[in-house]
Structures are given as structure tokens and as C-alpha cells.
């Protein structure tokens, strides 16, 4: 299988609709290996859907998504499983298994996919928990964790099998500044120290500008801008500008479409 050494994921001509609602209208993306790439855009543009398409959970209507040179849509169940073992995903809600405590959650992948002995698993789990700073919380129940802590545990769980590619689904949403700072530090450090490629989907502009090497901005089913952070800030495209600077009115209007006010008041 030939694959481009520089990009781990390539997306070409992607089109996808859900129930007659077009979500993607022709998207081209490449995710460069070893770097942190951000995919940003207003809420509801289908950023999570893009991650699910890359992971092979849903199939596109048209277009090709390749991971390490393999067309995701054409993989068999076994091929899909093999691909997924080299991918890690951090879900928006953390998605920790409610039946297990922290330790068992993090150990899950090792116990499922490897035959390592229990004492070795114990060491590996504690090491990974140490990397995210939660080794002391190893035996708490999932219900005892705060939102930020559960995301860190989910992160430790996702990297247990040393994946090549990490997908982050809105990691900063709803977090306080301290937790955001922690997550930013972890994402960046893990990317460097484990040699990962990270794809982050988010709409937190400041955080993304701070930690990404490359940005894509999605809106209305198309890519409206991409580049390194410094360039994207300076881009004069009005849609892009409104999003990046957080302007309340612009191409995405402030007012929901309605008849003129005078007309509606008179009617009463």
C-alpha cells in the first residue's frame, strides 16, 4: 500500500448529507503526520461527523477518505478493527465506562486486545495515569470524578495502545480555564513525546490558535479557510473573520429571519 509519508489522513471531494440535510458539500483536507491539526467552525457544521467519517463509523455519500493510504469506506470489518487499534479518540462527554472504576477504564484496551499479565498491565496503567497527572485517582469510581478529571482519564485510556493518530472531539467545551490549560498542555505534550498526530475538532478559537500547527475552518459544508494560525488570523474573508474574531453580526446574521418589526407590531 503506497501512502504519503507526510500526510496520515487525506480527504477528497467529501460529500455527506443526513436526511436530506447536506452536511458536507465537497471537502478536501490533509492531516500532516506528527502535527496538531485543528478543525474549527461554528456549532452544527458537522465537525463531529467528520471525525466519525474518518473513524469509519459512518460512510460518506461521495468522496474518498484515506487513512495511511487505505480507503476507509472499503475496509472489511477486520481491516476496520486493525485501523482503529492505531487510532485513539477522545469523546466529547469523556465516555468512560460507568461499570468500571478509573483503573479498569484505562486498562480496558490492554485487557481486550493484548494478553499481557496483570502486573504488567498495572504498571502500564499507572504510568499512563502519571502522564496525565491522575495516578493518585486510580481507584476512584467514575461517578466521583469531575468533568475535567474524567476527560483526562479518557485521554489516558485512549493512548494505552500507543496509537498513531489521536482524534479529539471538542475537548475544551464547557471546561473552566484551569482545565482548559491542563488539557492544552497534555494534548501538546503527548503529541510531541509520543510522536502522535493529533486532530482536534473544536470551536474554541483562542485555544486552537495557541496549540495547533495547522488549521482548517469549516462552515456551511465547505472549507472557508486553512493555513497556519498566524495566516488564518490575518485572512480577510468575511466569514472567516467573523468566526475567528467572534463578531456577533456578519455573514452569519444576528437576527433570525422575520418580517419587519413595524409590520408585526401593527398586526397586534
Amino acid at each position: 500500500m503506497s501512502h504519503n509519508v507526510e500526510s496520515i489522513v487525506t480527504v477528497q471531494g467529501l460529500e455527506y448529507s443526513r436526511r436530506d440535510n447536506p452536511i458536507f458539500r465537497g471537502i478536501e483536507l490533509t492531516i500532516p503526520r506528527g502535527k496538531v491539526t485543528a478543525i474549527m467552525g461554528p456549532s452544527g457544521t458537522g465537525k463531529t461527523t467528520l471525525l466519525r467519517l474518518i473513524g469509519g463509523q459512518i460512510v460518506a455519500d461521495r468522496g474518498v477518505i484515506e487513512v495511511n493510504g487505505q480507503d476507509v469506506a472499503k475496509l472489511s470489518r477486520r481491516g476496520l478493527n486493525k485501523m482503529r487499534r492505531k487510532m485513539g479518540m477522545l469523546f466529547q462527554e469523556g465516555a468512560l465506562f460507568s461499570d468500571f472504576n478509573v483503573f479498569d477504564n484505562v486498562a480496558f484496551l490492554l485487557r481486550e486486545h493484548t494478553n499481557l499479565p496483570e502486573d504488567m498491565i498495572r504498571d502500564l496503567v499507572l504510568l499512563k495515569l502519571e502522564a496525565v497527572g491522575l495516578r493518585g485517582a486510580a481507584f476512584l469510581k467514575t461517578s466521583e470524578l469531575s468533568g475535567g478529571m474524567s476527560r483526562r482519564v479518557a485521554l489516558a485510556r485512549a493512548i494505552m495502545l500507543d496509537p498513531e493518530l489521536m482524534l479529539y472531539d471538542e475537548p475544551f467545551t464547557g471546561q473552566d480555564p484551569i482545565n482548559k490549560g491542563v488539557l492544552m498542555k497534555l494534548i501538546r505534550e503527548l503529541n510531541t513525546s509520543f510522536g502522535l498526530t493529533s486532530v482536534i475538532v473544536s470551536h474554541d478559537v483562542q485555544e486552537m490558535l495557541a496549540i495547533s500547527d495547522y488549521l482548517y475552518v469549516l462552515a456551511n459544508g465547505k472549507i472557508i479557510g486553512h493555513g497556519v494560525p498566524q495566516e488564518v488570523i490575518k485572512d480577510s474573508n468575511p466569514e472567516l473573520k467573523q468566526f475567528v474574531e467572534g463578531l456577533p453580526d456578519g455573514p452569519v446574521p444576528f437576527r433570525y429571519p422575520a418580517e419587519p418589526l413595524a409590520q408585526q407590531l401593527e398586526a397586534i
Partner: protein, 261 residues
């Protein structure tokens, strides 16, 4: 106007068929997927505990009360024909043929079925099932299948325990309170109740009910909308659909069994 109503009706019918088909495929995937044999026993026995053992209390308490009521009501009516000695037969046949399997099934649907739907629906809403999928662990065999088989196996056990407890309760009322002769009670019962025709058929019914109820419960949970409103809707649907299906199947099975299959 009429055309749009007809289209809407057609769409409802279409979606109904589509959902039945979806649930059929779902069931076949649950049954077919190969499990990891080292874990199967542990997962299955944990679910058997949650689904079966925890339903014991409600099943046996209900059985006790129902047995007592049937004995009371039965005695009342039989007395008019001077046929009180047939009380044992009345009690045993009603319980073993109908009340045992059906009422256990309805209680099971309400307690264990709704719990299963809620649990699986919550796992869906918090993305735990998607997460497992992305980790290359098949949630169908790891989460759904143990619960499914636990349901199918617990039902006949619960039904048998219901039968025994109800007959015991009825015997308490009939023999010890209302004064029917103990020997007559049991010997008339034994003469009238056939093992193959009555007891075994009742157990077969309960297996069928268990199969259907658990199928509906796990299906509704797995395909529920991933939010709290979706979960509560799915739970209600489980209880309603599985109860109705149980009663309908009871009629069909009884007709088949009486026709001598």
C-alpha cells in the same frame, strides 16, 4: 389534503416495517457475533445476576399474593357446585398454564426490561457504545449479547419459581385457612396436571416470552435517541411493546398447544 394524510400514513407504515427489519438484523447480529470465550462466563453471570436474581423479589412476592387470591376466589365459586376438592386442580392449572408464564413475563418486562433499556440507552447517550466501537471492541457481543442471553435464561427460571410460590400460597389459603383436605387437594391436582402438556408447555411459553421481551428491551435501548428524553421514551416503549407482544404470543401459543402440537 387527503393525499398528504395518506402519504403520512404510508410513511408511518414504511418506518414501522423498517424498524422491524432493523430489529431483526440487530437480533441476528447479537446472536451471531463470536464472543471472546475467556470473558463470556463472567459477563454473562454478572448480567444473570442483575436481570434474574434482582427480579426475584418482585416475582415471588407477586406469586404469593396471586396464588392466595386465586385460591380464595376459586373456592368461593367451586363451593356453589360442591366441588371444593377440585381447588388444587383449579389453582395448579391456572398458575402453571397461564398465570405463571404471563404474569412473570409482565413483571419481568416492567422491572428487568425497562432497566435494560435505560442502562443501554444511557450508554448510548454518553457515547460509551460509540467509544467501544472506536476501540475495536464490538459492543454487540460485549454489552448486548450477555444481557440478551441472561434475559432468555432467567425467564423460565423465574416462571418456575413463580409457579411453585403461587401454588404454595394457594395451598396456604386453601388447606390451612379454608379447610380443603390436604390429601384431596394434592391428589386431585396431581391427577389433573400433566407434566408435558401443562408444566413443560408453560415453561416453553416463558422462554418465548423471555426471548421477545429481552429482544425489545435491548433493541429499544441500543437505538434510542442519545438524550434523556430519548431514554425515557425508549423505556416506556419497551414496557408497552413487550407487554402487548407477550399477551398476543400467549394467545397464539395457547392455541397451538391446545391444538396438540
Amino acid at each position: 389534503m387527503i393525499v398528504s394524510r395518506v402519504t403520512a400514513l404510508g410513511r408511518v407504515g414504511w418506518e414501522f416495517c423498517q424498524r422491524i427489519g432493523q430489529s431483526g438484523f440487530f437480533l441476528s447480529s447479537v446472536i451471531i457475533r463470536r464472543p471472546k470465550f475467556s470473558q463470556v462466563f463472567e459477563l454473562f453471570s454478572e448480567q444473570l445476576y442483575r436481570v434474574g436474581v434482582l427480579s426475584l423479589v418482585i416475582v415471588m412476592m407477586s406469586a404469593m399474593f396471586i396464588g392466595m387470591v386465586v385460591a380464595l376466589q376459586g373456592y368461593n365459586t367451586l363451593q356453589k357446585f360442591g366441588a371444593e376438592q377440585e381447588l388444587g386442580q383449579l389453582l395448579a392449572l391456572s398458575v402453571v398454564r397461564e398465570l405463571g408464564p404471563v404474569i412473570t413475563a409482565l413483571l419481568f418486562a416492567g422491572r428487568a426490561g425497562s432497566a435494560l433499556t435505560a442502562e443501554i440507552g444511557l450508554m448510548r447517550a454518553t457515547q460509551q457504545l460509540d467509544c467501544m466501537d472506536m476501540m475495536a471492541v464490538d459492543p454487540l457481543w460485549r454489552v448486548i449479547a450477555p444481557r440478551f442471553w441472561a434475559g432468555v435464561i432467567s425467564m423460565p427460571i423465574l416462571a418456575a419459581l413463580f409457579n411453585i410460590t403461587a401454588i404454595f400460597g394457594g395451598q396456604l389459603v386453601g388447606v390451612h385457612w379454608l379447610g380443603v383436605d390436604s390429601g384431596t387437594f394434592w391428589s386431585n391436582m396431581q391427577a389433573a396436571v400433566e407434566f408435558r402438556g401443562d408444566v413443560l408447555n408453560g415453561i416453553i411459553k416463558s422462554v418465548v416470552f423471555g426471548f421477545v421481551i429481552t429482544w425489545v428491551a435491548v433493541y429499544q435501548g441500543y437505538f434510542s435517541e442519545p438524550n434523556s428524553a430519548g431514554i425515557s421514551r425508549a423505556t416506556t416503549k419497551t414496557v408497552v411493546y413487550s407487554s402487548l407482544l407477550t399477551l398476543a404470543l400467549d394467545f397464539v401459543l395457547t392455541a397451538m398447544m391446545m391444538g396438540g402440537w
